[in-house]
């Protein structure tokens, strides 16, 4: 049966402050599914997850069962790593999921670890999530005290361990190979693939890295069956979708919804419409790494494949009429990403918005690859001067050419994550950029912009630090 507006899986315990205590979780049937699953052959569980059409909720939307299937059959010393490094701008679901229902994550990991025959497992939690780290630490301790984790997990005689590992502030550690390096006590530098983590991951062993929401769906799948989960969704995307809606809507929030809901329904029916009675200008559909949609493209569902292939979404271009080639002639529309949906109204300065996104990627580039390290910095600088009304003729084309120079030319996806929205905003809102550049030539500068505020704050900070002799 397809999911409807009342179908709640991983968010069903939101708002229940007692649920993070193990006794409450158990009283509600918690750990029952894990106990049953541990009596089933691992291959059964993997088949169930494959049949469920569960797709990774961290951003890429890769089929989870297929990812699990990459672990070699004869592998020993397998690791399961939970990616709880949520940092994609506009995304705020994993933090909430951990805060409200940490035992569901642990139960999902116990089941998944059994399916993968993984013993030493880790949750990599973002350093800034201090409140959630304490919640998770306590939940893991409780699970050890109950014997659900340990050398004989749930009395099976087989070990299952979970260690919570804190990061220390670096967006790039959400990239799975950077995360593995950070777990190994190194700088969070992405690794060249292949070898893929399933072959050579953490400590050189076969490793699966899954997002928080992904792992929390696993208990539902093994309990009610992969087919049931697949039917909740649509096409190749099983289950429900958590969206984090932020920006210019009346009721921002984290909502668990059917995959089939469209952006327009989401804004108007779930989020109470655009704020202040204004009109929508556009939407970032899956975290700031994804190309935006304009107001005419919002009748597309939030589902993974729709955002990549629906022809109502105009392909991203490198110049008017020239589609961006993702390789092999594949066009780029957008992606569902992490479910971070940012709505902006018709009074938004779109150039400023783009600048803020570029500032983020310039700050977070790890510095390994030249196209990304240098390119993101230049995109931020040029976009800033255009936003400030100081753009020069050719700046729009220059930003486009820099983005094209980054995309596909870096070790990890952070380069694409900066280049795609740059090209996407230039494709969908090109007139805004051109108007600012043209106005700049006639000396009209906007004084009250956010950029002006930010720039002056930074300029004052620079002056102050120079005065103190701190470089």
């Amino acid at each position: 049966m397809p999911a409807d507006m009342s179908t709640k899986l991983v968010t069903r315990n939101f708002g229940n402050v007692k649920m993070r205590e193990i006794a409450t979780y158990e009283a509600a049937g918690g750990y029952r599914i894990a106990r049953a699953a541990l009596g089933r052959p691992p291959a059964d569980l993997i088949a169930e997850v494959k049949a469920s059409n569960l797709r990774g909720r961290g951003g890429a939307g890769f089929p989870t069962g297929v990812k699990w299937g990459f672990i070699p059959k004869d592998a020993t010393d397998v690791h399961l790593v939970c990616n709880a490094d949520e940092a994609e701008p506009g995304t705020c679901k994993d933090r909430e999921l951990i805060y409200w229902d940490p035992h569901l994550l642990i139960e999902g990991m116990i089941i998944s670890a059994h399916a993968l025959r993984a013993v030493h497992n880790y949750i990599y939690i973002r350093g800034e999530m201090m409140r959630e780290y304490l919640v998770l630490e306590r939940a893991v301790r409780e699970a050890y005290e109950r014997g659900y984790l340990g050398d004989s997990a749930m009395g099976t005689g087989r070990p299952c361990h979970i260690t919570v590992h804190r990061g220390a502030g670096a967006y790039i550690c959400g990239e799975e190979t950077a995360l593995l390096n950070s777990l190994e006590g190194k700088r969070g530098w992405p690794r060249i693939k292949p070898p893929f983590p399933a072959i050579k991951g953490l400590f050189g062993n076969p490793t699966v890295v899954n997002n928080v929401e992904t792992l929390m769906n696993v208990p539902f799948i093994v309990d009610k069956g992969g087919a049931w989960f697949a039917e909740l969704g649509v096409g190749r995307s099983g289950g429900t979708r958590i969206v984090c809606v932020s920006g210019h809507v009346e009721r921002p929030g984290v909502y668990e919804l059917p995959m089939t809901i469209t952006f327009r329904q989401l804004i108007d029916e779930v989020c109470g419409g655009v704020w202040k009675g204004r009109k929508v200008r556009g939407v970032i559909p899956g975290g700031s790494s994804m190309p935006p949609l304009d107001a005419s493209e919002l009748d597309v569902p939030v589902e993974f494949d729709a955002l990549m292939t629906d022809e109502r979404i105009k392909p991203v271009e490198t110049a008017p009429g020239v589609p961006f080639d993702m390789g092999g002639g594949r066009q780029l529309r957008s992606m569902a990403g992490s479910g971070g949906i940012v709505v902006f109204d018709d009074q938004t300065d779109v150039v400023e918005l783009t600048w803020r996104i570029m500032k983020f990627y310039a700050h977070e580039s790890c510095g390994q690859c030249t196209p990304c390290r240098e390119g993101t910095g230049w995109l931020e600088k040029i976009c800033r001067r255009v936003a400030q009304g100081k753009g020069m003729p050719g700046d729009v084309e220059l930003m486009s050419s820099i983005a094209v120079g980054i995309a596909g030319n870096t070790i990890c996806a952070l380069g694409d994550a900066a280049a795609w929205p740059m090209l996407g905003f230039l494709t969908k809102f090109r007139a805004d950029f051109e108007a600012k550049v043209n106005r700049a030539q006639y000396g009209q500068v906007h004084a009250n912009s956010q950029v002006a505020l930010a720039a002056s704050a930074e300029a004052r900070a620079r002056q102050a630090s120079e005065a103190e002799g701190v470089a």
């Binding site: 800034e128 999530m129 804190r166």
Partner: protein, 165 residues
């Protein structure tokens, strides 16, 4: 005199060491603890971490300077992380940041004895933008006129990040 971890920190590090095949993965946790106990990660503190974990100083230095939560110079008791990323910016975060600057008399990146002011990237509280994080405390849907109250609250009940280490 060379620096040392407290007995409690040594115990924590020893317990964590059991969870990994070598001492290197413990370095992030050890740096969090070192920053808690010694205020910041100046050279001799990094040397202490390197010696304690039997790792090269250069490696520990490389890690400490990669992650933004580690600092090499003294900071305030509270680290105020004011998010200005897209979701927060669209709902007025730069106005909130400016209010903190004015009322604390600090610019972004600066510290007083009580506060360090940080312009933070997305803290995953986008549905309640603008958001401000201080230790384990989130301040949500913040407006510039709430800033004075937040500062007063944190002066009364400080939220040092080291409490979590």
């Amino acid at each position: 005199m060379s620096l040392e971890f407290s007995p409690e920190a040594k115990q924590k590090i020893a317990a964590l060491r059991q969870r990994y095949p070598s001492s290197q993965p413990v370095v992030l946790a050890a740096l969090h603890l070192a920053q808690k106990e010694h205020g910041d990660l100046r050279d001799d503190v990094l040397r202490m971490v390197a010696e304690h974990l039997d790792l090269p100083y250069a490696h520990v230095y490389g890690v400490a300077t990669f992650y933004t939560m580690f600092r090499r110079t003294p900071g305030g008791v509270n680290t105020l992380r004011v998010c200005t990323n897209v979701s927060c910016m669209l709902r007025g975060a730069y106005g909130v940041l400016r209010a903190f600057e004015e009322q604390l008399g600090l610019k972004v990146g600066q510290s007083s004895a009580e506060f360090t002011l940080v312009e933070e990237e997305c803290i995953a509280a986008c549905a309640n933008a603008p958001a401000v994080l201080c230790g384990t405390e989130y301040f949500l849907d913040v407006t510039p006129d709430q800033v004075a109250g937040i500062i007063a609250e944190l002066k009364k009940n400080p939220r040092p990040e080291g409490e979590v280490a």
